[in-house]
Symmetry: C2
């Protein structure tokens, strides 16, 4: 088994109302920031999965993202391998 670190990025689907994004956009004026648009607020879940190989690890994360981390009616997700964050894990030896 090897350890893999992934991030699951969950974002509101295009066209779906995003009240948090609206709130951020509404606060920009108070900060004196201009030129920012199309703000969408979603979730980012980082996790470590032990699996035989990369594709098997991705399958587990995909199931998790689909069944637990996202609402498929209003959200989309993508999976992102994050090697950098798992450098401490990356040295894990294959235990075979």
């Amino acid at each position: 088994m090897t350890s893999f670190r992934f991030a699951v990025n969950v974002t509101p689907k295009p066209g779906i109302l995003d009240p948090q994004g609206r709130a951020v956009q509404g606060s920009l004026g108070h900060l004196g920031i201009s030129g920012v648009s199309a703000v969408r607020v979603g979730r980012r879940v980082e996790l470590t999965v032990d699996a035989a190989d990369g594709p098997a690890a991705r399958d587990v994360v995909d199931q998790l993202a689909r069944e637990l981390l996202s609402n498929p009616l209003i959200e989309t997700y993508d999976l992102e391998p994050i090697g950098a964050a798992s450098s401490a894990i990356g040295v894990a030896v294959q235990e075979g």
Copy 2:
């Protein structure tokens, strides 16, 4: 002005209690998923910023992340240029 699309990934600092991550981890058994650990739940904010060049755009996003999108006591953030999501914006012509 050119348009740049960024994501701001906000995650709980190491050592900070993460109740959402705990909740996800507690649900894994019900889904029949094993081998998943170190779950951390954060936010992902995607936005478009109009600026003269890349570094200027990053400065705006960094200010926004620092002052509005994250709580520096308990969270860290990183900025991620997301070219793929901005392909439609990428063709924007310099207006001078």
